[in-house]
């Protein structure tokens, strides 16, 4: 098991792959729960399992198609599909979300779940041999949360669950994981910078968690404007800091 924080970029990438592998295992478990719930026509149970699975995928931190077509198959959005969310080509976790929040049951969803399980298997199998560009990790550190703003908090990625905040929280956790891996390298490039990012990410988590009531997530559109502004403000602040990371690692 590679050490964290990593002393070299190669170590960081190896540690990240190991982390992803663990997340994919967990994701497969959630998918099993999801499949059983759908088969039993247990919609609330299926919705809960979907959220666990989608959060798990967000924790992988697969921003900007970083695993290529294999990664894209897990949770693509419905953008660019002629039929939108109802398009037969729409697949993956988001497709399942759409069905669960639009009255679909086993006949429509089990094939989608089984296909997803296959795609997940393929990704897990390819992962050990996957080569990652050294530029990828610094980019990932800022792009995970750029995706939160672009896809979750915009409402664009939502297929009915309204779980933008829950998914953004998972994105923050993914960012923290990558930051932990790069901590030593980053500290060497700009002393004190990891601590600043820690503080700004914690501030973001704080305003995110303040929106939870009784342990459940409020659908994003039901939050008050002030709650959304606080999240957007904390997110915007850390994004401005994270935007410096790729340049810090550049040797140009």
């Amino acid at each position: 098991m590679p050490q964290k924080p990593a002393a070299t970029m190669a170590d960081a990438i190896a540690a990240y792959h190991s982390y992803v592998s663990g997340q994919l295992d967990e994701l497969r478990n959630h998918l099993g729960t999801l499949r059983a719930a759908v088969a039993n026509a247990d919609t609330p149970g299926a919705q809960g399992a979907w959220l666990q699975a989608q959060q798990c995928w967000q924790r992988v931190g697969a921003a900007y198609g970083s695993f290529g077509e294999l990664g894209d198959a897990i949770a693509p959005g419905s953008r660019g599909l002629q039929g939108g969310s109802a398009d037969p080509e729409f697949k993956g976790l988001r497709r399942i979300e759409y069905g669960l929040w639009h009255g679909q049951g086993a006949p429509q969803l089990l094939p989608a779940i089984d296909q997803l399980a296959k795609d997940l298997q393929a990704l897990a199998a390819k992962l050990p041999g996957l080569s990652t560009d050294p530029a990828d990790m610094p980019l990932r550190l800022h792009e995970i949360l750029e995706d939160s703003q672009r896809d979750h908090l915009s409402g664009n990625g939502d297929q009915g669950s309204g779980m933008a905040i829950a998914l953004t929280r998972a994105d923050v956790e993914a960012t923290q994981e990558v930051l932990d891996l790069l901590r030593t390298l980053l500290q060497g490039l700009k002393a004190g910078f990891p601590a600043l990012l820690d503080q700004q990410l914690a501030a973001l988590l704080k305003v995110i968690d303040q929106t939870r009531t009784g342990g459940t997530w409020t659908p994003y559109r039901s939050l008050s404007l002030l709650q959304r502004q606080r999240i957007n403000g904390a997110l915007g602040r850390v994004l401005e800091s994270l935007a410096l990371v790729p340049a810090l690692f550049s040797t140009d």
Binding site: T8, M9, P134, G233, A247, L248, S250, D252
Partner: protein, 408 residues
């Protein structure tokens, strides 16, 4: 992001770090841009009210929610805004030095300048005017309750108003005016980038100021010359002073009332000219009061008590009856037109960003608006948003900052 041009660290970064951190050292060249289009930021009063004398062509009224957590962060915010305003209002050549807080200190990082105005930012008569709403003083965490100006209430809703919650509220107003819309956009974007953790937009609206057609005061979207009569700065109607009954820290400031007033232009265009003239009280072509020749002619209400010439409920007559009693309710108007696009049914959503500046909201704006409550023109307009703000006293010099008196 151009990845091809970059190679990345593979080994231990700690050893290589020294060579990487090329500080973004500003060059010390003091070449200022031409000053013909500069609206000075420093002064006893803020710009954007009486300065420049001819209001700029483009504007944005942006109302922000303050999400700073505490008083210290709020003060830092005003200092940051001051720095931004100094740079933005003077124009900035790319080789001029920038204050350290403007620089991220990382070579190759995203540029500080969005590039919308090119690498050299022209002065473009940019003026930035900052105001605070009453809600800011009500927030426990800032400890400013005792400093709240009198009369800085929520915007009063008048009987015919159709207020839309999406177009009211906010704790801090930034009024940006400039010669062109791209300069307004640049300034707003630049300010927001620097203040993401402290400010979030509540609402904003862009405005444009028409050219005189053919001369005199510019026309509003009803086709009438507007803003013909405004009090001079020496009349003591606009700037808060020692006799205004306000907290001392507000002296040199003024109250801004912004009202977003949709004008039902399709309906208006179906009204005969005589009726239009009667509702306004002026001839559309010349802008002159009815029965007069020039827009600058004064209406003679004393000799028209029955309203035979200018109807008693004409807009100009109710707004400014030109009596001794109503003289003190005059205010400086410096509004902009807006054009937002399409309403629910395909009509134009366009109208007026009414902006008035006064020493006392209740005695000036509200008194005037109360007189106007039932004017015939109300059928053709729909006020739907806006707010009341105290526009802060001016920033005196390089050592001063916005709202310094609030924290003294």
């Amino acid at each position: 992001m151009n990845l091809e041009r970059r190679s990345f660290l593979m080994g231990s970064a700690t050893t290589a770090a020294g060579g990487l951190l090329v500080a973004c050292a500003p060059e010390q060249k003091e070449q200022s841009p031409a000053v013909t289009d500069v609206v000075p930021f420093h002064g006893d009063n803020q710009a954007g009210v009486y300065r420049p004398a001819d209001q700029q062509a483009s504007a944005c009224f942006a109302s922000f929610t303050v999400i700073a957590d505490n008083r210290a962060e709020l003060k830092t915010l005003f200092q940051r805004l001051t720095t931004k305003a100094r740079i933005l209002t003077g124009g900035h050549r790319h080789d001029q030095a920038l204050p350290t807080e403007e620089l991220n200190g990382v070579d190759g990082a995203p540029p500080v300048n969005s590039g919308v105005l090119g690498e050299d930012v022209p002065a473009a008569n940019i003026s930035l005017s900052f105001g605070v709403a009453g809600s800011l003083f009500d927030r426990e965490e800032f400890g400013l309750k005792a400093r709240k100006p009198k009369g800085l209430t929520e915007m009063k809703v008048f009987p015919k108003d159709q207020i839309d919650a999406a177009w009211v509220g906010g704790d801090l107003m930034i009024q940006i005016c400039a010669d062109s819309q791209d300069a307004v956009h640049y300034a707003l974007r630049d300010i927001m980038k620097a203040t993401r953790g402290q400010l979030q937009l509540a609402w904003k609206i862009n405005g444009f100021h028409n050219k005189p057609r053919p001369d005199g005061a510019p026309r509003n979207l009803f086709g009438y010359k507007d803003g013909i009569v405004n009090p001079a700065s020496t009349e003591s109607l606009v700037w808060i002073n020692g006799n205004s009954g306000q907290p001392g820290w507000t002296e040199g400031g003024t109250f801004l009332v912004v009202r977003l007033i949709r004008m039902l232009v399709e309906f208006w265009d179906r009204v005969g000219l005589g009726e239009q003239d009667g509702m306004i009280g002026r001839h559309r072509a010349s802008g002159a009061p009815l029965g007069k020749d020039k827009e600058t002619d004064e209406p003679d209400y004393a000799n028209d008590p029955e309203g035979n010439e200018i109807p008693l409920d004409a807009h100009i007559r109710l707004a400014n009856p030109r009596t001794k009693e109503t003289s003190g309710s005059r205010m400086l108007r410096r509004g902009y037109n807006y054009d937002l696009g399409v309403d629910l049914n395909g009509n134009m959503q366009a109208g007026l960003i009414f902006a008035s500046y006064q020493q006392n909201i209740q005695e000036q704006f509200e008194a005037t608006q109360t007189r106007l409550a039932d004017e015939p023109m109300t059928d053709y307009i729909e006020p739907f948003g806006g707010g009341y703000f105290l526009m802060l006293p001016g920033v005196k010099d390089e050592n001063d900052h916005l709202a310094s008196g609030l924290f003294a």
